[in-house]
């Protein structure tokens, strides 16, 4: 009788990547105490699969527990761990150190957000803007109250907005936006993309009210179409495209 090897048993030929070491530079700043940002360096061993968040948590566990970082799901779903990693806004849980192709990993808080401490930033402005554009379906009819009504959509109608519903509100697009850096009243690519998500939904009847909200002096027209919001989105949302589509509605090219 032949013996079946157990699944957990590792074949001796399985090659393990040798652990490497990276220098993790973490920006430290407490607005209540510090006058300027400082960087602390830690040597962290990493494997091919080690994420930047895991490296930061390693620092918290073994070197300095006072490093402030916001995180939760560790699987690019909650949108909590957005930060600037080697100069680019990314999710720490979705960025492997091995992908960065650098032995030095510098992590900083997101741009265009007020800093609470170290890598944790305030999200009030993002959530206010998001709330402002009415991020929900506006329709007097309801699928709940009426047993006859069902809001059917064709695959083509779903295709109009589905990628925009992948937004996890991580704020990376707002962090990358050059207009957000100078215009403190700008509604931002996140909220504009969400405005398009609902305007393009065939079940929604609130198009006019949403277009009115974004059609103001610090609204949609302040976008310079740098496209950096779409470049950094970890969920594949294209806010720059949504913004152009919204402009199409306002200029009368779309209805």
């Amino acid at each position: 009788m032949t013996q079946v090897p157990s699944i957990a048993e590792e074949k001796p030929t399985t090659s393990l990547s040798s652990p490497k070491t990276a220098t993790l530079r973490i920006a430290r700043f407490n607005p209540e105490k510090d006058s300027e940002r400082k960087f602390m360096e830690f040597n962290i061993p990493y494997q091919r699969w080690t994420t930047v968040l895991e490296a930061i948590l390693e620092v918290k566990k073994h070197f300095d527990h006072s490093v402030a970082v916001r995180y939760s799901c560790r699987q690019a779903t909650c949108g909590s761990c957005g930060m600037i990693i080697n100069g680019k806004p990314r999710l720490a849980c979705f960025t492997k150190i091995s992908e960065l192709e650098s032995d030095v990993v510098t992590v900083e808080p997101m741009n265009n957000f007020p800093i609470i401490r170290d890598l944790a930033v305030r999200f009030e402005r993002l959530f206010e803007s998001h709330h402002k554009i009415k991020p929900y379906l506006i329709n007097d009819d309801s699928e709940i109250s009426s047993n006859e009504k069902e809001f059917l959509q064709t695959p083509e109608e779903v295709e109009q907005y589905i990628q925009f519903s992948n937004c996890i509100k991580c704020g990376l697009c707002n962090s990358a936006c050059p207009t957000m850096a100078t215009d403190s009243s700008f509604v931002g690519p996140q909220a504009l993309a969400q405005a398009y998500r609902y305007v393009a939904d065939s079940r929604d009847k609130g198009k006019d009210s949403r277009l009115k909200i974004i059609d103001e002096s610090h609204g949609i027209w302040r976008c310079h179409f740098a496209g950096s919001c779409s470049q950094v989105c970890p969920k594949g949302v294209d806010p720059a495209m949504g913004i152009q589509f919204l402009r199409g509605y306002l200029l009368g090219f779309r209805s």
Partner: protein, 118 residues
């Protein structure tokens, strides 16, 4: 009025004036090519251009289009540099006043030439 106008209306005017100015400036450049550059800048030729009403009218329209487009562009830049209700109101009204001032000053030249004052 400046603050009440919808931003999309302002931007439609902004894009429209840009397209109109490109078309008319192209005509203006073509007209200038009918003679040498030095010749076109001679005093008598410049005065003659202003006295030729269809051409003077076109120059006036270019002036209006570029003033509207340019000062709205300036307004947008200034609004992005700094924010605040008083500042934004001052920028908006200031740009409209400057635009009207420039149009009035440019129109004055054409009017004075045609009244024989130059």
């Amino acid at each position: 009025m400046v603050n009440k106008m919808r931003e999309s209306t302002i931007m439609k005017i902004h894009y429209g004036t840009a397209l109109g100015a490109v078309a008319l400036v192209a005509v203006h450049i073509l007209m200038r090519l009918t003679q040498s550059f030095a010749e076109s800048l001679e005093y008598t030729n410049v005065i003659a251009n202003y006295q030729f009403l269809p051409y003077a009218g076109m120059l006036e329209i270019i002036l209006i289009l570029l003033s509207i487009h340019g000062f709205n562009g300036l307004r947008v830049i200034l609004l992005e540099l700094k924010q605040g209700p008083r500042y934004e109101k001052a920028v908006s009204y200031g740009c409209v006043a400057a635009m009207m001032g420039l149009i009035a000053y440019g129109s004055r030249t054409i009017i004075m030439v045609n009244m024989g004052m130059l």
